[in-house]
């Protein structure tokens, strides 16, 4: 029996993941050993510190281009860029998660296990400070996301998928108010997510079958699930491609589910609405980056040779996603559901960029991810501020006349909505322009046409909110806009500033994405 040795691992290259993983484990211990009164501060500092440290290591090895851990992990331009994006957006999300001044005890439930509606529950809603296990959970999720975008074989990618998903399911269930809605959202997300994972796994098995007979990295002819082997098999294999096509389809289902593309989007509005708003922002920004990072790598590296086969199908998915997101957004009456459908539509635009299998497509998609992430976090930050006695007032009719009550925040939110609508001098315009430009360059004109038409439809729900805020008279039930605490204010400022800067002077980030847009073979 031959001895199985550990593959050599370039620990330097995977330091960011190790830091986050270590910090999340420490976070679990903090939960156990630090007194309740100090936990929040300790956890907050620990999380921010760990993410910053990870970010520093990502920046530090900006020039690393390597495949390590036996071909399981690729550290290259897209990986480092996306990891950096996830970490920066993660910092902003943690700022939102850590806000405690808007509501007594913060936005999270004190003890998730207490039965909803019981006396103990009423007691904890008004008195108890929120639980702090949200921090290690977010760090675990971030670890998974970093692994997800770095995975260089399908199994590692699956592990990354699970590591990022499981904490997210839990985080969705931790809302302090409207707990049933929150728990329902978590359960729904979990059930559908489990299905999606199963699809992914089945696709993985089919692709493995397809690669049988292709020399793999380990030297035998047994095939493999690392992307290099798959790419070689796509080019050279004599096996019937049916296995390949079915595999691509199933893997795409798994990834598109996380990316919230139609017809795998049905969880999005419910989960976005039910989850605590900071967690929604975290999902809309970071999860989207991770999901599209993985999708880009799969489409470009592993299945790039079969792009003629999947482009029509995924193009149809992209068109459907844009239209479904835009049309359904028009009918929404809840701001969080509206933003959820807008997130679906944005997944469609991202898919348009991802389908342009060339350098420009890759670069523009990465740019879009960052630009959208900042804007959507700022958007949800404003949502956390508009409150009445029962918590956040998310029904759109309640937002009428907000411009009179609080011109500053209504103005900020107007700016964010205009960015979503893709109006010039916001990042929304630059990113849409870049993505459509890339698609047009790759010859997908019909996707561009659908894209611009859907963005025209999508402008209306945004405009409706703007009109409602400014041109309606405030009523009795118009909620107040709280003065944000330091953390939310910081998150909001970062998000709005990034939206503006990426709209006016996007060149440096575009340049960065262009330099990063090359996968290692």
């Amino acid at each position: 029996m031959t001895e199985i040795g550990l593959p050599p691992i370039n620990y330097g290259a995977i330091t960011p993941m190790l830091i986050l993983f270590g910090a999340s484990c420490v976070g679990v211990f903090v939960e156990a050993f630090v007194p309740k009164a100090q936990r929040h501060l300790v956890q907050l500092v620990l999380s921010l510190g760990a993410i910053t440290a990870a970010l520093v290591t990502v920046v530090w090895q900006a020039d690393t281009r390597t495949v390590t851990a036996g071909g399981a992990i690729a550290i290259d331009g897209p990986t480092l860029f996306l990891q950096g994006a996830i970490l920066v957006l993660g910092v902003v999300s943690i700022l939102l998660i850590g806000e405690r001044s808007l509501e007594r005890g913060g936005p999270f439930v004190a003890q998730a296990a207490i039965v909803v509606g019981s006396d103990a529950d009423r007691n904890q809603t008004v008195r108890q400070p929120g639980a702090t296990d949200i921090y290690p959970l977010s760090l675990f999720a971030l670890t998974g996301m970093l692994l997800f975008v770095a995975a260089n074989d399908l199994l590692t990618m699956f592990i990354g998928l699970e590591v990022l998903s499981l904490p997210l399911y839990l985080m969705c269930a931790l809302a302090r108010r409207r707990r049933l809605l929150s728990q329902e959202a978590a359960l729904k997300y979990f059930m559908l997510g489990a299905y999606a994972s199963a699809f992914f796994l089945f696709g993985l098995a089919l692709v493995y079958g397809f690669t049988a007979g292709t020399p793999s990295g380990s030297g035998d002819n047994g095939g493999g699930v690392d992307f290099a082997t798959i790419a070689a098999a796509v080019r050279n294999s004599e096996v019937s491609p049916a296995l390949l096509y079915a595999g691509i389809a199933l893997i795409a289902v798994g990834l598109l589910f996380k990316a919230a593309a139609a017809p795998f989007h049905v969880w999005t509005p419910d989960v976005y609405q039910g989850a605590p708003t900071p967690v929604t922002g975290f999902m809309a920004a970071c999860t989207k980056v991770a999901a599209f990072g993985a999708l880009l790598r799969v489409l470009h590296v592993a299945f790039g040779g079969a792009s003629w086969a999947y482009t029509p199908v995924l193009g149809a998915v992209a068109a459907l996603t844009m239209l479904v997101g835009a049309v359904l957004a028009v009918t929404q009456t809840d701001i969080k559901r509206l933003l959820a459908y807008s997130s679906v539509a944005n997944a469609g635009y991202l898919l348009v960029g991802a389908l342009a299998v060339n350098k420009q497509g890759l670069a523009s998609t990465m740019f879009y991810l960052v630009a959208y992430g900042f804007t959507v976090l700022a958007g949800f930050a404003v949502v956390t501020l508009v409150r009445d006695a029962d918590g956040e007032a998310t029904h759109l009719s309640r937002w009428a006349g907000l411009g009179r009550r609080s011109p500053l925040f209504a103005g900020v939110f107007t700016f964010i909505l205009l960015a979503f609508a893709g109006i010039p001098v916001t990042s929304g315009f630059t990113s849409k322009f870049a993505v459509f430009g890339a698609a047009s360059g790759a010859g997908h004109t019909w996707l561009v046409v659908v894209g611009v038409l859907s963005s025209m439809i999508l402008a209306f729900p945004y405009l409706r909110v703007v009109v409602m805020m400014w041109l309606s008279e405030p009523g009795e039930s118009t909620p107040s806009v709280l003065v944000p605490g330091g953390l939310t204010a910081a998150a909001l400022t970062i998000g709005v500033a990034a939206t503006l800067v990426l709209g006016v002077a996007p060149e440096s980030l575009l340049d960065l994405t262009n330099r990063a847009a090359e996968f290692v073979p």
């Binding site: 322009f433 459509f436 025209m456 996007p506 060149e507």
Partner: protein, 513 residues
């Protein structure tokens, strides 16, 4: 940076600065804010006048200094976002200059008008700030020499105009509540539809040519025939929505009727010109083969617009709506001139643009003044204005006669020479179009005379007799006087516009032939 470049940037930057400054003025200093905005608008007008390059001469044109058909007097070319082919490339030449001055002038007049007459319940300083933002977008559109920058400025106009109509419009008490919102929505829907088509067109051109530089693109260099046809179709529809060309005009009457007076003036005076300017500069310039291919269709639609506009006007019962539909007819003449693709036709289109901006701007000011005084625009309720307010009805008569194209006033040149250009083009199609357009010109006279008969002549109606009928205020006179003078000046000395445009139009026609 040369002095010309400084003036170029100042023309664009002053309104933007003004909008920002006015927006910062606190609510209690509303009037001061409006005055401040007017000062900035005046400075922008001065800057735009300084752009003019005297060595071009009034009647001549500076010698060609390079190969392209677009030879700007002043040019500013800065890198902005090379990753998106976006350059901050501004320039002005004889085609755009008259429109630039028209824009700065009309914005100044609108701002000054707002100082004197604060519209409705909403703050006037915000309206002034929005007008200045609109000015930035319109001027940027006229000055941009980069396709992407052009699109960007084109888009900037959309939302402030929406806000002006939705926020300050709907002063008609008889209209159902929310009608102005519906009109504003319709305006946005149509314009966005045009914008997205234009965006696709821009992508098509940029992807095929590898550059977005209008100077380099003019003449259709390097674009294959299918690309040109596709690009022209997309861009032409986009500009046709804005112009508006029949049958894409239906947003216009609603928007005009519901908009506040200054909104109508801006809309008719300068916003519609973005469409025709874009058609000449971008669609025809970049895709000449597509333009030749589509010219008959464009011509037929333009003539249809003339006839339809005139017939609808004959049946109109509301003052502002009538003027709005008359815009459809006038812009039909402009588009007919463009469709001929001849030097005469393009010249006619340019002077028609300016004339329409001046005259229709004046007409909307007058209609606003009438509605202010009598709180109705229904022709049935008006009548006998001459007896109560001879000065106002005299001005209305002057503007209406100028608009119907009396020789010696500004409206004549554009319409007459559009017909002449179509006749000169020859062939059964163009001859027929010219004849029908001439008939449309006669119908224009008919409906304007009907308007005058209903509003100014006859016995004073109860509404007119009963209302106070305040005399013309100084601020109104100040806002109208430049337009009255210009309508006469352009009519008597058309070379004011034509002399400037002669060289560039000749070069353009040469390039697209």
């Amino acid at each position: 940076m040369t002095a010309g470049q400084v003036a170029l940037v100042a023309t664009l930057a002053l309104p933007a600065l003004g909008a920002a400054a006015v927006a910062l003025v606190p609510a209690r200093a509303d009037r001061a804010g409006r005055v401040l905005g007017t000062v900035f608008a005046a400075l922008a007008l001065v800057a735009s006048l300084l752009i003019y390059r005297p060595d071009g001469g009034w009647f001549g044109y500076a010698p060609a200094n390079r190969a392209s058909a677009v030879r700007p007097w002043h040019e500013l070319d800065l890198t902005w976002v090379p990753g998106l082919e976006l350059r901050f490339h501004l320039g002005v030449d004889g085609i755009s200059y008259p429109l630039v001055v028209l824009t700065t002038l009309l914005t100044l007049l609108c701002c000054a008008y707002t100082v004197g007459r604060s519209p409705g319940a909403r703050p006037g300083r915000t309206l002034v700030a929005l007008l200045l933002v609109i000015e930035v977008g319109v001027l940027g559109t006229f000055l941009a020499l980069d396709l992407v920058l052009f699109f960007l400025f084109f888009e900037v106009v959309l939302l402030p105009m929406y806000a002006v109509i939705a926020g300050w419009g709907g002063d008609d008490p008889r209209a159902e509540a929310g009608a102005h919102r519906a009109a504003a929505r319709k305006f946005v829907l149509y314009t966005l539809f045009g914008s997205v088509l234009m965006l696709v067109g821009v992508f098509t051109v940029v992807a095929a040519a590898g550059t977005a530089d209008i100077v380099a693109l003019t003449g259709g260099a390097g674009l294959s025939r299918p690309v040109q046809l596709a690009a022209f179709a997309l861009l032409a529809i986009a500009f046709a929505v804005k112009s508006p060309l029949w049958p894409l005009h239906t947003w216009l009457p609603d928007a005009h009727t519901q908009a506040p007076t200054v909104g109508s003036v801006m809309l008719a005076g300068v916003l519609l010109k973005m469409g025709t300017y874009g058609l000449i500069r971008v669609a025809v310039g970049v895709a000449p083969e597509g333009a030749r291919w589509a010219a008959p269709v464009l011509g037929v639609l333009a003539v249809a617009a003339i006839i339809v506009g005139a017939l609808v006007c004959l049946a109109q019962t509301e003052l502002k709506r009538l003027i709005a539909y008359s815009s459809v007819g006038h812009m039909g003449f402009v588009l007919l001139g463009v469709a001929t693709l001849t030097a005469t036709g393009l010249q006619a289109a340019l002077i028609g643009n300016i004339a329409h901006g001046v005259i229709t701007g004046l007409l909307f000011f007058l209609a606003g003044a009438i509605k202010d005084r009598f709180h109705t625009g229904a022709l049935d309720d008006l009548g006998g204005l001459r007896e109560r307010m001879p000065a106002l009805s005299g001005l209305l008569g002057y503007a209406a006669i100028a608009s119907l194209g009396l020789p010696g006033l500004a409206g004549f040149w554009g319409e007459a020479f559009a017909v002449v250009a179509a006749l000169r083009r020859g062939g059964p199609l163009w001859t027929t179009l010219a004849v029908i357009a001439a008939v449309g010109g006669a119908l224009t006279a008919a409906y304007f005379l009907r308007l005058l008969r209903r509003v100014t002549h006859g016995p004073a109606s109860p509404v007119v007799a009963g209302a106070g009928g305040a005399p013309i205020a100084g601020v109104e006179l100040a806002a109208w006087a430049p337009l009255v003078v210009l309508a006469l000046a352009v009519g008597l000395v058309p070379t004011l516009v034509l002399g400037l445009a002669q060289g560039p139009v000749g070069a353009l026609v040469e390039a697209v032939r």
